[in-house]
């Protein structure tokens, strides 16, 4: 997956988890929790969805890497290499 696809995959997961939020214009360099209402349970949902959709396991000590969309791209790029985007699942 390239950068755009990784962002799309994360935004799609967030849209599933927080369906009341507008995720159409999220800034990539600002913390997600500063832009939309996400609590710790939601964050665990994001991690679970990454595991279910892509088989990516994010250990607890790495959660901080997923704070922004840019952070997600940096952290997930190597893990999602060769995997195909799954949205709307």
């Amino acid at each position: 997956m390239n950068r755009a696809e990784i962002i799309q995959s994360i935004v799609d997961i967030i849209h599933t988890i927080a369906p009341d939020e507008d995720v159409s214009d999220l800034k990539t360099d600002v913390r997600l929790r500063e832009q939309i209402e996400l609590d710790s349970m939601d964050f665990l949902d994001i991690v679970m969805e990454l595991r279910k959709r892509y088989g990516v396991h994010v250990p607890e000590e790495d959660y901080k890497e997923l704070a922004t969309l840019d952070g997600c791209v940096a952290y997930l790029s190597p893990k999602l290499q060769g995997k195909s985007l799954k949205v709307g699942v």
């Binding site: 927080a18 369906p19 939020e21 679970m48 595991r51």
Partner: protein, 412 residues
Amino acid sequence: MMSLPRVVITGVGLASPNGNSLPEFRQNLLAGVSGVKPWTIRHVGETQAGQCDFDALRWQKRKELRRGTRAGSIGIWCAGEALKDAGIDLDQRDRARVGVYVGTTEHGNVETENQIHEVAQYQFDLSYWSHHHNPRTVANNPAGEIALGFGITGPAYCIGAACAAGNLGLVHGAQMLQLGEVDLALCGGVSESIHTFGIFASFRAQGALASHADPAKASRPFDRARNGIVVSEGGCLYALERLEDAQRRGARIYGEVAGHCVNSDASDFVLPLAERQNECMRGALARAGIAPHEVDLVSSHATATPLGDQQECEALRAVFGDSSRTHVNNTKSFIGHTMGAAGALELAGNLPSFEDGWAHATINVDDLDPACEVRNLVTNQPRSLGRIDTILNLSFGMLGINSAVVLRRFCA
């Protein structure tokens, strides 16, 4: 006996397989409309159940709906509708003085089954087990979701009482008002049980799961061909207040909780006992200060199991056999057994009889079982009784819990 404040019903919120408001529910009960439909659930396959269809997004955001349980969602719907019906704006109240008391037959089976099904897809790798499992399955979940949804900071918890739970919620709410613990009680019962295959499988294993070619005829209490329970989902919560508080704000009063009794068979895990049911009914009447012949309408519990109906009818004959005034009906014949909601929901369907004077029927009695003959059983067609002043609402449950609540037309 010590003098306790009088408690009245000032609002009704409900979700029934045949109606999402009291007027709609009542209309369908008087018109003989069943709410039982075909239902498919994993492992069990095709069966029949009463299913609710209400607009959950009226009272919940989509995220709350996703995060919570079906029982929580039904509870939130019922609480919102009850508050609206009662004309109560929580912003004008002290939310710490509101109590939420929700009867449940069981809670947690649905989510546990879902999670086991989920991890089975991953060879039981528990890293796929959801962090939502515990908050969804704790026994106070439905009440807690209501408290969260409406910002209620008073006591909010569930009361586990098998199929008597709806009545128990109501009784507990009345008691907490009488003790002065709260100023408003949202109380009754909810059930999400149609979403757990285990309930169906267990009733089937027990030989107590109903089936019929026509789902609308599957729930047939008192009929010779009855063959068990139709499991249904539903909910009903009442807004309950002390009479003086209700009068002070000019609230509409549906009726007065005049008496109640809860007792235990202490005899068997599943089989009911007419003798204790008899004592329970008489206990509630004594608390209300009335005799059997002063009861106009008995809302029976009968679930359409062969033995259960027989035992209840035996108790009814013993208590009301000499009363020409007392009529008996049954709501499960329309909507199936809404489990934790049953006591509250079945009472709600009969509450409007204080206004209209009608007893709704027990439908599907095509061939009355002689063992279920009771005086003035209202079968198949509603009956006008002219005036109804007193209702006795019965709910019994597994492990031998019995409950009876007396509702009286409100007279100042």
